[in-house]
Symmetry: D2
Subunit: 375 residues, 4 copies
């Protein structure tokens, strides 16, 4: 019998669905050292019981404290709005639960630092769900970089564009409230591209930034309410290794639904990625024969590519949700191994330091080094 990991999941909306499905599917496809048990789903609202039943959870509750306190539960996943992450994740860690927390890890680095400390102190496995690290194409980019096949890294650029609230009549949501969400596109979307930059290029030295709220009021239940998180942000960065970075986020970029794109340029090659075509990576090598150089569209669906062997034959593409399956594969394996688990709360905390620096840089109109306030 394999070891079982009894999971409690806090949050039953969009992310709750994605996490539930990953738990539902991971053992179907992957060989695991420890298998998950869908123990308890926690959410608030009249639909929690039905949702739990549908997704295959054994129990449900409206109390996250009950999940954290339940001795039957080994691991907790946190899928709630950002302003609750610190309390839930830290409590879970202190209660000895392994924790997988949604991104961005917290509202600010003070919170994420506390979460990291709590997790370290209790010795649990701790991961932040920067799920795009789990894309086969991103792993191919990482591999090429680590093997030196792009050479010395010079420049990085990334955008994360969506357009869901483009219509000014789109209503006020919690993501537009600074006290709940922390920041807008800069945090919600920016955290992903900041993490990918850290994963692929390295740590940030300093940033300059700006942001804007284009639609300043929206209706909530028919009542106008001030939007306090940014609709779009733009920032430039210098990395410790000398590379330059340029970043743009927007939730008001007409025509883009989930358009996370990045490019890495090095002395020996480049890669380009687009989340809406997540099974592909554009790759360029200077070592190709001169008459036949060009960006090649690699279908990252070969058995040579990370995670793919568990799925389908070449060319049979996977979807967005599969990143969550991969994340649980990593999380469960880390729990079984009693070590590792990446991206960890440390990665989440460092990304948070960058996000804080971006926000401060925009507010104070100056270059800011991540963590400067803490030094």
């Amino acid at each position: 019998m394999k070891r079982e990991i009894r999971v409690g999941l806090i949050g039953h909306k969009f992310m709750g669905k994605a996490h539930s499905h990953a738990l539902h599917d991971v053992a179907f496809f992957f060989d695991l050292e420890a298998v998950p048990v869908m123990h308890t789903l926690c959410g608030i609202g009249p639909d929690v019981a039905a949702t739990a039943a549908r997704y295959g959870w054994r129990n449900w509750t409206e109390s996250w404290e009950a999940v954290v306190a339940n001795p039957e539960i080994d691991a907790v996943a946190v899928c709630t709005p950002g302003n609750t992450h610190r309390a839930i994740a830290a409590a879970a860690a202190r209660a000895g639960k392994h924790v997988l927390c949604e991104k961005p890890l917290a509202l600010n680095a003070a919170e994420s630092g506390e979460m990291l400390a709590a997790a370290r102190q209790s010795g649990v496995r701790h991961m932040v769900n920067f799920n795009y690290r789990r894309l086969p194409a991103v792993n191919l980019a990482k591999q090429l970089i680590e093997e030196g096949r792009l050479g010395t890294l010079y420049t990085f650029r990334a955008t994360y564009y969506q357009d869901w609230p483009l219509d000014p009549a789109f209503p006020f949501l919690w993501r537009m409230d600074k006290s709940v969400a922390g920041a807008g596109s800069m945090a919600d979307k920016g955290s992903h591209i900041v993490d990918l930059a850290r994963f692929l290029v390295g740590d940030f030295a300093e940033v300059a930034a700006t942001s804007e709220i284009f639609v300043k009021q929206r209706l909530e239940g028919g009542v106008p309410r001030e939007v306090t998180t940014d609709d779009a942000a733009a920032f430039v960065a210098r990395f410790h290794n000398g590379a330059l970075g340029v970043f743009a986020t927007s939730r008001m970029a007409a025509g883009h639904k989930n358009a996370l794109g990045f490019e890495v340029n090095g002395s020996r090659g480049s890669v380009i990625f687009d989340l809406e075509r997540l099974n592909e990576l554009q790759v360029y090598f200077t070592s190709d024969p001169r008459e036949a150089q060009g960006f090649r569209t690699v279908m990252v669906t070969q058995s040579e590519h990370k995670y793919i062997q568990s799925w389908w034959p070449p060319g049979h593409i996977i979807g967005w949700e599969h990143t969550f399956v991969h994340q649980y594969y990593e999380f469960l394996n880390a729990i079984a191994a009693g070590e590792g688990g990446s991206p960890s709360f440390e990665d989440g905390h460092r990304a948070q330091q960058v996000l804080d620096a971006i926000e401060r840089a925009a507010a104070e109109k100056r270059w800011v080094a991540p963590g400067e306030a803490e030094a």
Copy 2:
């Protein structure tokens, strides 16, 4: 309590995995009138029991006859090589089981006609798994055609290219044996594009065709064996509605992994599709303002698009496997409704008539009308 449909699945390899997963996932995402029970997995080999356990089947067996004879089983899915479809599917239908059979439906139209007759006689639901009809993008194409937004259809072209046995050292497989597989790329790949042509354009009037085996011998256990199914085929067609079609299939097309592509051109617009980017449909309308006409890349991931509401927000792409989930959604709903179910064995039989005509046209070097031999 919802009605339960107890399913028996014959075949536990690639297609068996895809069907099992669809059954595993369909109720997670979709509201069903009848929910599936994964009753029995049937396969041959030492790994059947382990596979059944992993995928969540309650029972397993090596005897398809036992599945067909089991009164507990309501529906049977057939995922075995083509030369066994007729026997299994017809027996299942005669035993009163609803049947979902892999494509192509049979080795030839005589067989598929028998299967269709058996299914009709017993009054069961019968479907053939032309799963690409279940793609949201293909449904968008269909919708545009049905609404007249492409106008009168003029031309259709389709290719289905793969390259898995491109290396002459790739070993002999059952798909290369005419007695087991019927035909090669012409049937295995061609059946999909023939079905899509029927779905989108209409019935075939006549075809001319040719095919070739490029690597004529391959090793099976170190022993050379003659390849008897085509590596590539090419055919042209006239449709009853006056449209022209051109088709190419190959399993030796370097660089293509699962490249099913098609284009439909009408008097008012065109659509272009590529399976390796299955969340997209290229759409052109002549009614756009002249200075801004062009093929638009529709991300077929909006809630307006068929099946998408059950998945994720816009831009969060789905994968190849999701077509199987959609197929079971249709199959289970048809069973619950006691009517319908498309594509049916009749579609499978008609596609088979076209495939037979293609094969005869290639062999006899003349134009052949589907079903001519039967007339």
Copy 3:
């Protein structure tokens, strides 16, 4: 002083403009053994004199016979409708003029054979303006094939789609009259892809074909007139080297303006080309490392690429018209050398034999070998 070649150009419309401009530009960019003199422009209509003046012709006339008879003229370019090619080109050749004739070379192989014989007998240089052989990207494809980098060729596919007369209200033109144009899209567009197939893959063994006229009547000066040339055609082919080919042409393919596309698949690689992105060639090699295989988009704008050194730095793209400049570069060099000149009337004649075979195959609904009638 360099040798001068005094050119007479017959035809002053679209092709006349393209040829005039090529003569105007060729010595600006290319080192030539013999330089062109724009001696006489011949056309019919009130605008010939003005056109000649604008394009830089020294003289003009309405009589092609006068051009052919003029002893000052060394070379003649033929840019008139297809039904006049034979008379003009053969007369020019017999008068000792070097000839560059527009494509397709003639209305049928009887005519083109006579033209070839005339040119051979008089010993002049003779070329047919299959200008797409002059694309750097097509030359890169040719180079890769000749160097064996695509291996044994297996399959070829090509389409040539336009949509200029898509609107049924588009008026009757000479290209819709069989007696003037020979055939419709099958000849006008098909001749290009047939020639490219011959250039890249080799000679055709046999073809099967079909075609259709979708809009059967159009207005000419307000009066309905029967369209007698095809709107679209589709054909399959076997090549002498064992490769298979599939072809489609249409002037009614909504959304396509000048969309000549082809793909060549061999045992070691593939190439894909699209005329609307004529500076690019998609190239795939099986020899790339497995984790980084994919079609690479080669910008065919490097000094390593044919003709490019005379133009601009890498990435500075050239346009459609540049193919004509390249053609005159080849034509003038052949005249200076007293030998060579490709594609020659022989290429034009062989393409015509294929076109005739296609037309006969469509009319008689059977496979036809090019030149069979002549054997």
Copy 4:
């Protein structure tokens, strides 16, 4: 007889060739109020006479002062390195010559301001060759913006990537010397995207920036020399109208040959452009029906598109060089009209102010408003 404009061209290298060809071709394709005469080519080196002869110049000289002083000459084009623009262009203007000057207009805004003053004082036509304003696709973007079809503009992003000196063994060039070139990629490439931002979005309010020299020494005649202009730069901007901008330039971006790309996002739509596919514009409208929204690839080759009517039928693409022909069309028409001419030295000066602000922002690590030093 049409008015003739006798042109003197200073500079006979890459830009000299592009300007010469534009003068050679403009009257062939365009109806002009005043036609150019290629009077004198000025350059330094043993090849000036031969170059002048080849390109069709009537005279040549090594003295730009002679060109400026020559009363026969009506207009002067300046194609020399940046550190000579001020002297030549200002002198030409003061001598009453109309001036078309290469970009960036000068080394800094002090110089460009002086040039603008000189041109204004003498009343001549003055233009800066931001030739990408002359692309049909860019004009379509401009038209859509001006007609309000993109709505309120929110975000702009642009990159200009090349890779010509990527190899550290690539030798030292004048473009790497700050005293001659002003800046590196930030000025050479950045000036184009700054101008396009001004053309499409509007004036810059302030910028933050950074830059880097990745290869700090290169060989000049075998001797190491310090590179003093940036290899890459990154900057963010706020526009006066509230839009945000993000920009990146590099001459060390592996795989990019001449990759100027930009995107404009507004409340009602977006456009995306790529110079390596300069005949295309990606266009998105929120007003499209919801099930068929997407970026459409407009082939900007219709007669409805600016400048195209003078070239070829739809789908017959033009090349990079054609922008220069269009620029001379505008320049000559402005001279004939005695007014207008855009982009003018004022545009060149304002772009220079932005470039100066970028450079200062990078050096001083703060936000800088263009023109702040002059206030």
